[in-house]
């Protein structure tokens, strides 16, 4: 059960990041257009955020790693996405007035809106590897399984968002759904961890 949640969280985190990345292009377009450099800015910021997330996720995993903390990463990633809906328009408008060049405008906007939640999502994978690996012989095996779940989730998030979700829902409805699923999944994982640990009486 614990292992199932770890893979599920990694997979969902991949889904979440790609869905947000695709929507971010949409969110920036009214202010900065749909030019190739707007996508360039978005992808740069997401890659940088993930890179930093991997680094800090690995560091974070050195201190008392638990499923509960992994689940909390998911929860924090969701919570830090909420400002995109609440203040997104206001922030974009402010940057639009501040910076004339749409290249740097979109780069700064993507950073302001998406860097923190994406970096937190990046922390999930290395942290999950630490939770799975107890034997260094099997480290490659688990890393492979984890990359699989996370990247498979990314593929699913990409196709679901671009093919179907945008056809039926508004951007903020999709964001709300993504945040909601992250919160539910995070809380479920925290709950199962406490319920499997709590009833264990001292021998």
């Amino acid at each position: 059960m614990r292992r199932f949640f770890i893979f599920l969280i990694a997979g969902w985190s991949g889904f979440f990041v790609m869905a947000i990345e695709l929507l971010s292009g949409r969110i920036l377009a009214p202010n900065f257009g749909n030019s190739i450099y707007v996508w360039g800015g978005v992808i740069t910021v997401f890659m940088l955020a993930l890179a930093l997330g991997y680094l800090s996720g690995g560091q974070f995993s050195r201190y008392d790693p638990t499923l509960r903390r992994l689940a909390l990463l998911l929860v924090f990633g969701a919570i830090t996405t909420i400002p995109v809906m609440l203040f997104g328009d206001w922030i974009l408008e402010w940057i639009f007035d501040l910076i004339q060049d749409p290249r740097y405008g979109s780069l700064l906007s993507a950073t302001a809106l998406f860097f923190i939640p994406t970096a937190i999502a990046g922390m999930v994978s290395p942290y999950a590897v630490r939770l799975l690996v107890s034997d260094s012989q099997l480290s490659g095996h688990f890393a492979g399984l984890l990359y699989f779940s996370s990247t498979f989730g990314s593929a699913a998030g990409t196709i679901a968002t671009s093919f179907y979700l945008v056809l039926y829902f508004e951007i903020n409805q999709i964001l709300t759904g993504l945040i909601g699923i992250s919160l539910i999944l995070g809380l479920l994982a925290i709950f199962t961890e406490t319920s499997t640990h709590a009833p264990r009486p001292p021998a």
Partner: protein, 299 residues
């Protein structure tokens, strides 16, 4: 609707037959830009610019080599219907350059008019100058920028136009952020109190209903010019539409000028209609909801 789709498929099939080199087609120039492949070719005494995608070509602009003044495309002729709503434009904005046919004709008709053109693709600007005789001047300026960004900034800086032409779509791909209520509202703030909007849009898919509802929501009643399944032009005016009688009078006054482009009021005026032939319950397109390309694809 289903019938329309079948016809559309037939048309597409026909188009693919036509674009395969059955007639003598000479390719003059090809160019890869950041956004597309641009092809310039000559065929049947016409020089055309087309954007190729997946072996299919979609003609963007054609010039008659016999008489470069003549408008080859039905849609550009219909766009000129905007002049029946505003016969004397002084400040014009065109979103989407193509080969530059529209600004060249407008400059000839109104030498004093200022024309700004927003075109996202620098390669298109280059090809328009090299192969289609388009020339920027102090009066006619091209801004190489996304149309949405240009419109937003121009609105904030207090720029105003008495004629705006939206021509950024082709039959295969729509920049979705240029077909939302918010964008049209930004366009609206750019129009003078009696300004006119002309938009080259779609006519044959589910998108027709959504698009019509969106324009209706922002501009109220508009003249809807349709030719069979192919083209549809929306003409709107800030201070209300002139009556059909006024349209006819202005058509007569402009007759000599339009004849040089190869058509006249006898063809254009009967196309003017205010009939609502779309589903008025269609969901309005917004920045939050704009799956235009999915709505436009045949399924």
């Amino acid at each position: 609707m289903r019938h329309g789709h079948r016809l559309k498929t037939l048309l597409a099939l026909f188009a693919s037959l036509v674009t395969t080199p059955s007639t003598a087609m000479t390719i003059i120039h090809t160019e890869k830009s950041l956004y597309r492949n641009i092809l310039v070719y000559e065929e049947d005494e016409q020089r055309c610019m087309s954007f190729t995608r997946n072996q299919q070509t979609a003609r963007q602009t054609c010039l008659s080599l016999d008489d470069p003044n003549q408008f080859v495309f039905v849609y550009t002729r219909m766009m000129m219907g905007a002049l029946y709503l505003n016969p004397q434009p002084r400040n014009i904005l065109i979103v989407g350059l193509g080969g530059g046919v529209l600004p060249m004709a407008l400059t000839k008709m109104f030498p004093d008019a200022r024309i700004d053109i927003a075109e996202i693709d620098p390669a298109v600007v280059k090809v328009a100058q090299r192969f289609f005789g388009f020339n920027p001047s102090p009066q006619v300026q091209v801004i190489e920028e996304d149309g949405r960004v240009f419109v937003k900034r121009a609105g904030k800086s207090g720029q105003r136009y008495d004629l705006i032409m939206l021509d950024a779509f082709d039959h295969e791909y729509i920049p979705e952020h240029l077909l939302t209520r918010e964008f049209l509202l930004e366009v609206k703030t750019l129009l003078t109190a009696d300004g006119v909007l002309a938009a080259n849009t779609f006519s044959s898919s589910r998108l027709y209903h959504h698009e019509s509802a969106t324009y209706q929501a922002v501009f109220g009643q508009f003249y809807n010019l349709r030719v069979k399944l192919r083209n549809r032009i929306i003409l709107a005016k800030m201070d209300g539409l002139p009556s059909l009688d006024t349209i006819k009078q202005r058509a007569d006054a402009l007759e000599d000028k339009l004849k040089l482009l190869g058509f006249g009021g006898d063809w254009l005026v009967p196309l003017f209609s205010t009939e609502r032939d779309w589903d008025s319950n269609a969901r309005i397109l917004t920045d939050q909801y704009s799956p235009s390309n999915l709505l436009n694809s045949a399924f």
